[in-house]
């Protein structure tokens, strides 16, 4: 039923959306390079609305931007008290939870996007987490999904910034998105939605490439492609450092 709804929506969406208003999007950077001293990054997202006709009457144009990291399969465990100690009891595997997720809007989320549209386009955090298979594993899958959202929000990986987008003359919009220091690699998707009275009128998607570079890249690749050499190299560094410190201190003692 849900799939049918989505495909119906996909059929209808382009007809209504492309008719009037379209997004022209710019990013201050479409690559994030993770270097050794990477300490988070800020991406400026700006754009304009291209239209052939007059600005339509009625509710003003609103903008929603969702940036998502690559989705990964995770296991969520819950602790319960058994025999006096806290142990993991129930566990649920969630098919896809984005490693990073942020939603920025031009107004309160529910005002600019209806619950139904949110569900279809999977915009808000709770809709971005795939919980379909969790329903077969637990009686209360929503608790587990909420836990993911809560833990990652505390870690600064998930966020909702309502009212963070400035819209000028229903045509120009801009916002800045903070990417935290604990970012992982991958293709991040940036989606922009234009809405009127809570309905999506246009949608645009682009990719932000988050990659390790330099030494980070080299070490990461070595550890995956030549694990034995990487392991031996780690040991060699450890032994040389241990010997070096010992020799260094011996020299110091002799000098004194």
């Amino acid at each position: 039923m849900r799939r049918l709804l989505i495909s119906l929506a996909l059929l209808i969406a382009p007809l209504t959306a492309t008719a009037n208003e379209e997004v022209v999007l710019g990013l201050s950077q479409n690559r994030v390079a993770i270097t050794a001293n990477f300490d988070g990054s800020e991406i400026l997202v700006f754009g304009a609305v291209k239209r052939e006709t007059q600005i339509p009457d009625g509710d003003p144009l609103e903008v929603v931007i969702a940036i998502s990291g690559p989705k990964e399969k995770i296991t969520v465990r819950r602790k319960e008290k058994r025999f006096g100690i806290w142990v993991n009891t129930e566990s649920v595997t969630i098919d896809g939870a984005p490693s990073f997720y942020t939603v920025a809007t031009s107004g309160p989320l529910r005002d600019v996007l209806t619950a139904q549209e949110d569900k279809l386009s999977r915009v808000s955090i709770e809709n971005a987490i795939d919980v379909i298979s969790a329903h077969f594993q637990s009686d209360h899958p929503i608790d587990f999904a909420q836990a993911v959202s809560r833990i990652r929000t505390d870690n600064g990986l998930y966020s909702v910034q309502e009212g963070a987008i400035e819209v000028a003359e229903q045509t120009l919009f801009r916002t800045s998105v903070a990417m935290p220091a604990n970012l992982t690699e991958g293709d991040y998707s940036a989606r922009v939605f234009l809405t009127r009275s809570g309905k999506i009128v246009s949608e645009h998607e682009t990719t932000i490439d988050v990659r390790k570079v330099g030494l980070e890249r080299f070490l990461f690749n070595l550890s995956r492609q030549q694990p034995l050499i990487y392991g031996l190299l780690s040991l060699a560094i450890a032994i040389v450092a241990g010997w070096g410190a010992s020799a260094f201190f011996r020299v110091i003692r002799q000098v004194r």
Partner: protein, 305 residues
Amino acid sequence: MQIYLPIAEVSVNAFLLLGLGGLVGVLSGMFGVGGGFLMTPLLFFIGIPPAVAVATEANQIVASSFSGVLAHFKRRTVDLRMGTVLLIGGLTGAALGVVIFNYLKSLGQVDLLVKLCYVIFLGIIGSLMFVESLNAIRKSRKNTGPIKRKKHNWVHGLPFKMRFRVSGLYISVIPPLIVGVFVGILSAIMGVGGGFIMVPAMIYLLGMPTKVVVGTSLFQIIFVTAFTTLLHATTNYTVDMALAVLLLVGGVIGAQFGAVIGAKLKAEQLRILLALMVIAVCLKLALDLLIMPSELYSIGAAGGH
């Protein structure tokens, strides 16, 4: 100064890591323990993923133990022969431990088992050492002469006797081998060098002099942790070289200071300090199991149980 760790995929303060490495290094040099049982929980606390923390910690222990053992070689407090016997047992035990670990993993609840292992072993060893050291200190205050440890027990009735000159012992190789295997198993399950079990076992079971115990334990730990590092690097890809380098720079320097401090303290004082530390870590872990956690849910990589 923030630094992004390539394998752990988190950004942490470099000086914090240097400081942690240094602190644990001092303890390692003083007591002859690798410090893994302290460092691993500390790394969890600053947000390093557990799998990376355990694997990288093994690599760091190699460095601090190597630095420490050289200091002990200088003072001729390493019993190479005893160390080798323990090592043979240790490597056998580590291989067995990995098998046991994987079996338990298939049953689930391996985390809980590891924590319970910690609480039980740290608790028993810590309190035994504490009581024994207190008694020794009380005795040494009464009569200033050296304390005579019981020289003959059942250990001396076993066959395959061997002379360990540095330790001043003439005992069967069976007890050291068994100690080695046992510590090897535990170190594979608990992800530590096992010095905190090895040191008391050498003192109380084998009757080795405390001064020799530290160097010999470090000697054995180097090889066992090197083996563990390679296993983690090739199977789980969880050794973070950048993290290891920062920890070990602090660690090797700390270990040198630790060895100096250790040489100045009396054996009983050394043991009572180690006992207190072991008990403190045990209590912390026990409390974690008993007190209701603020977050009941936890996220792990899929593919586990």
